[in-house]
């Protein structure tokens, strides 16, 4: 995973709530067997409308998505995170994320930042008035900064440490191999098995 420390970029205001992962990346894109090449599928249906915010010339090259509440609901597809990253987004800001999407994002180095809706509103107003306005997402100081906006955000220390260092979860877990072996040894015999022993 790529490490995330701090990022500054222009933003896309997405004034929609309940953006489900079917909207982020429609199901027919899920037939691919790689983690890349999803950028053209990002918000595919909405992008057919030339007025959709992502299509506006002033939003090209923006890297921070500022979305409405309940972003990433629905399907567990990690492809939604890959699509956002493939397109160029480094961070997503919302007042509430769906659990599975949030977990997926943090495992891929896409920083999802929870801010109060009031702050999201302020960011929307700022970047709608001035598309050149930059937003800084600083994981080291756990702070979002933009003109007239300074807001701290929470992220548990363990997730933050993994992100700052770009650490791979599997190798961290395998350091505790002894614990896994010990647990396996005491599992009851009635637990289900998919194969004959």
């Amino acid at each position: 995973m790529e490490a995330f420390t701090t990022h500054t970029g222009r933003a896309v205001p997405l004034r929609r709530s309940n953006v489900d992962t079917d909207q982020i990346i429609p199901a027919h894109w899920l037939k691919k067997v790689t983690r890349d090449g999803f950028e053209d599928g990002l918000f595919e249906a909405w992008r057919k409308d030339p007025e959709f915010v992502l299509n506006r010339p002033e939003r090209q090259g923006a890297t921070v998505l500022v979305a409405g509440p309940d972003f990433g609901t629905g399907s567990s597809r990690e492809h939604a995170v890959w699509a956002l990253q493939n397109y160029g987004f480094k961070a997503v800001i919302s007042s509430r994320f769906a659990d599975i999407f949030r977990g997926n994002s943090l495992k891929n180095g896409l920083l999802t930042v929870v801010l109060e809706q009031q702050t999201v509103d302020a960011l929307w107003e700022l970047v709608e008035a001035d598309p050149e306005a930059e937003v800084t997402v600083d994981l080291e100081s756990r702070e979002v900064r933009a003109e007239g906006v300074t807001a701290s955000f929470e992220l548990d220390e363990n997730s933050r440490w993994r992100l700052l260092n770009g650490l791979d979860d599997i190798s961290i877990t395998l350091r505790n191999e002894d614990d896994i072996v010990a647990y396996e040894a005491k599992r009851p015999s009635y637990k289900p098995r998919t194969l004959p022993v």
């Binding site: 709530s17 079917d22 691919k32 629905g74 599975i100 599997i170 961290i172 009851p188």
Partner: protein, 476 residues
């Protein structure tokens, strides 16, 4: 202090607990399918890792599979390639696979329970958000992303922060004609698509205890639609009777030991939930969705709401967008909404009891002219059982299409899709924009409402059919 059901199952699976770290949980059962696993197997290959516990892993094919002509090569080359990738990965790593055409193939969340692999007090994961289905057995079951699929394949564990717990207590008894689907749609409308976010839900109370395993699975299945990763129901005699003699259920002394453990899996009297919602079952009636998220629902007897009636600005905007997408007017009675397609199937409502319910409504009746009805069993086994009971004949005589098992029209990944602008009554779980095909419009319903809607051509319940069957008295 006592513990909740979720806390008991969680505690029994902690491999490692350390200050400042998420708990490391052992996973008892890992279900795989073709869509969310290819990149995980790739990851294993790149790092030279193996599947740690092949005996706790099983795969099937469901999302991409066609439900017609399953003995012919799959027409879509991309779908075919994804299925072939799963077959190659399972062969290379030694994972048990039930491919298309196999008698145990089907929607992954129908297959696990029917094999008896889903058991009380187990942890179950799958790269699919509807893994919450398995919570109906008192299992802690949740959907995971592909990175986590790789993690479980490699380590049989997952680092997880413990969610909070929420009790959803359903008092009273469901009225005649009101189903588990109506109940869960009403719950989601009440608490919202984000209401369960950060929680494990426990459905409890007299109305839940009376439900069959199939109905409990319908409820737990849609926990994710309320934002909760997992939903659970305490195991009881209904659960044990369902599991007894299933292929992977414990036998002999193991059965006795298992049941003794399963009986301990109840929330203690003095346990405290972080939140509680109480629903009165007696107040419920058939429930359908009108919008583009599963929380946008209402009783069938109601009308499409007026977006202006929402105080919250973001809800108001969401309702406006939904009405526009769905092609509906505020104030329009829900019963006046005509449909083109009716879909009975999916991990929500594709089990034998669901097919029986739809067939009982369709028997001696016909699907309305101009309406297409698809009936898709949740698994090949469910299909065989339905044929044995003659349900396929009922469906075909009514003019419905009887198909092979798969996810089918629940999501737009296989040939079963809505055309742009087409409207469906669907027993599946998501009414998102384009979910059933680009531009398609979905109303989520129970199997009974689906069947009645197919007959009348507009959203309807079986009670409306009884009215339609009885000619109005002369002179009225």
């Amino acid at each position: 202090m006592g513990r909740t059901l979720a806390e008991k199952v969680w505690d029994d699976h902690v491999v490692r607990r350390a200050e400042g770290e998420p708990d490391l949980l052992f996973i008892d059962l890992h279900l795989l399918h073709e869509v969310t696993s290819p990149q995980a197997f790739d990851g294993l290959r790149k790092s030279g890792r193996k599947v740690r516990r092949l005996d706790l892993t099983i795969a099937t094919e469901d999302h991409n599979t066609p439900t017609l002509d399953i003995d012919k090569p799959i027409a879509d080359p991309v779908s075919r390639a994804q299925l072939e990738t799963l077959r190659r990965n399972c062969a290379e790593f030694g994972v048990r696979l039930h491919p298309l055409g196999d008698v145990e193939q089907g929607v992954v969340h129908v297959v696990g329970p029917q094999l008896g692999l889903t058991q009380p007090g187990t942890t179950v994961v799958c790269g699919d958000s509807h893994t919450s289905t398995h919570g109906a057995f008192g299992a802690l079951a949740f959907g995971i992303g592909t990175s986590q699929v790789e993690h479980v394949l490699a380590t049989q564990t997952l680092p997880m922060a413990r969610p909070k717990t929420m009790a959803i207590t359903v008092d009273g008894e469901l009225p005649e004609g009101v189903t588990a689907k109506d109940l869960i749609l009403a719950i989601i409308a009440r608490i919202g698509t984000g209401g369960g976010q950060g929680y494990i839900l426990e459905y409890r109370g007299p109305a839940i205890e009376k439900l069959s395993m199939e109905a409990r699975m319908t409820i737990c299945n849609m926990s994710i639609e309320a934002g909760a990763r997992a939903g659970m129901i305490a195991p009881d005699e209904t659960t044990f009777a369902y599991l007894k003699d299933r292929p992977h259920a414990p036998e002999g002394a193991d059965w006795d030991a298992a049941v003794a453990y399963w009986k301990t899996l109840r929330t203690d009297e003095d346990a405290v939930f972080d939140a509680e919602v109480v629903i009165d079952a007696a107040e419920l009636s058939p429930f359908v969705t009108w919008g583009t998220n599963p929380g946008q629902g209402a009783p069938l007897s109601a009308s499409v709401p007026d977006p202006a009636s929402y105080e919250d600005a973001s809800e108001r905007l969401a309702a406006e967008n939904a009405l526009k997408y769905m092609g509906l007017e505020a104030g329009q009675p829900l019963r006046s909404i005509g449909v083109d397609t009716v879909f009975v199937g999916s991990c929500t409502n594709g089990r034998i009891e669901d097919l029986r319910a739809a067939a009982s409504v369709l028997k001696s009746r016909k699907v309305a002219d101009g309406v297409r009805m698809l009936v898709v069993p949740g698994s090949a086994r469910v299909g065989l059982q339905a044929v044995e009971e003659g349900l396929d004949v009922v469906f075909k005589e009514a003019g419905a299409e009887w198909r092979h098992a798969g996810c089918s029209m629940c999501l737009g990944m296989n040939p079963d899709q809505l055309a742009p602008g087409e409207r469906s009554a669907s027993t599946s779980n998501r009414n998102f924009e384009g979910r059933q095909g680009k531009g398609g419009r979905t109303h989520l319903v129970s199997p009974q409402v689906a069947a009645a809607t197919a007959v009348l051509g507009h959203l309807a319940s079986p009670a409306d059919l009884a009215d339609a069957d009885t000619p109005a008295p002369a002179g009225v």
